[in-house]
Amino acid sequence: MFIAEKVGKEWTMDQAPQYAIDHVANSKKNIFEFEFLNSLSEKISNFFGISSESLFYIDLGISKHVFLLFFVSFIVVSTIVTLIQGYISHKKNIPNKFMSIIEMFVIYLRDDVLKNFIGDKEYRSWAPLVYTIFFFVLFGNVLGLIPIFDLTGLIGKIGYKAEMLGKDNILYLLSKGGHTVTANVNVTFAIATITFVAFIAAGIQKYGFVQHWKNLAPSGLPWPLYFVVVPIEFMGLFIRPLALTLRLAGNMMGGHIALIIFITFIFSATAELGGLAGFGIAPFSISLALGLTMLELLVAVIQAYVFALLTAVFIGMAIHVDH
């Protein structure tokens, strides 16, 4: 069969995992090249003594995920600032549809999370951080579910084949790599780092530098126990942001990989068993993918909430040391 032959040429079943991983991971190549960014990367890396071959080379070039970060932050800032400023300046007490969703989250987080875990008085200084984490992660998660860049990739591919666009056209390059910033461990680790700094800062602000570190272990234990408790608590301090990092990235990665694998069933069946099998399996795979996308929407909200909640909990733990 024609379709089977065509697919079979480009696709073999064992390609599927790599295909799925490529669909989640960052682009291997920077999609925008800026000379000053390259030289800046080199300078900073040299300052820290990192060679360009090293795994830890600080490449400040605009990769797919960095571009997506700009994209997500642009959408977050423009949406939220427009809605909130519009809502406040009108002095109408009735929010519109989108604003009422934001207000619902804001009020819920304030009453059930911030006031509950951080405290009625202290919550105001930490609320912007928790809200920003929630909405940034939420928008990152949800925008990752919308296949905008698959579309641009398709346009780019067609344009390239039709010799309308150059080989390295942006539209095609944009389709390379994952669409979900929050599936990148580096991004989630950065946000977790901010959480980490925030809860240490909250403790130091409340108790002073020395007392904050003393709060790490409960007082009044028999002294030999401190040899056990202090290392455990100290490890816990670093495990918290790591857990945040892997939880969010893992959830996002997992969902997207499963989604892609379900879709590749069609190609695999076509390549191995013929076009008819591909057609036969398509409804099954697409309905699975559809169901999973619905589930992913739910996960997107839940993971954003969990990240924000845990940030509030950690800050609260640093402020309210109850021993």
């Binding site: 991983i21 490529d22 989640v24 991971a25 960052n26 291997k28 990367s41 795994l55 830890f56 080379y57 600080i58 490449d59 400040l60 070039g61 990769s63 995920h65 960095v66 970060l69 700009f70 932050s73 977050v76 800032v77 939220i80 600032v81 909130i84 400023q85 809502y87 406040i88 007490n93 207000e103 804001v106 009020i107 304030r110 105001r124 609320a127 912007p128 951080l129 809200y131 920003t132 909405f135 940034f136 910033v181 599936a183 990148n184 461990v185 580096n186 991004v187 680790f189 950065a190 946000i191 780092t193 901010i194 990665m253």
Partner: protein
Amino acid sequence: MNPLLTPELGTYVWSLVIFMTVLFVLRKYAWNPLLDFLEEREKDIAESLKMAESAKTDLEQIKDESEKILNEAKKEGKAIVGDSKLRAEESAAKILNDAKAKSNEFLDDAKSKIEIEKKRAIKEIKEEVVDLSLELATKVLQRNVKDDDNSKFIKSSLEAVKVDEAKS
């Protein structure tokens, strides 16, 4: 190395920078104004609820007071009506009594006047009778009548006088 777990320090640095910028912008232009706005609105709501509550109690108080006043007015009105009724009755009775006394007085007066008039009339009649008797006597004397005729005449004349007296 698995591409999903590769450290990309560039992406990490960019994430930090972008997130901090977003945090800064949203904090200034979204979260703090929104939280202030919500707080103000909640305060407003709480205040208006309080005001409504106090207005309600005020209204109840006013209602109670007005009812009290109304009741008092009713009582007073009743008292006034009762009082005036009593007074009216009293004055009516007095007027009636006065009238009765006056009429009695008039009656007594009239009676006594009648008595006097009667007495005078009788006196006059008596005088008339005497005059008539005298006249009769003279007539009798001038006329030549028999004795018994004479006595008969005198008798009848006297009877007539008696009848007249009785009639008056």
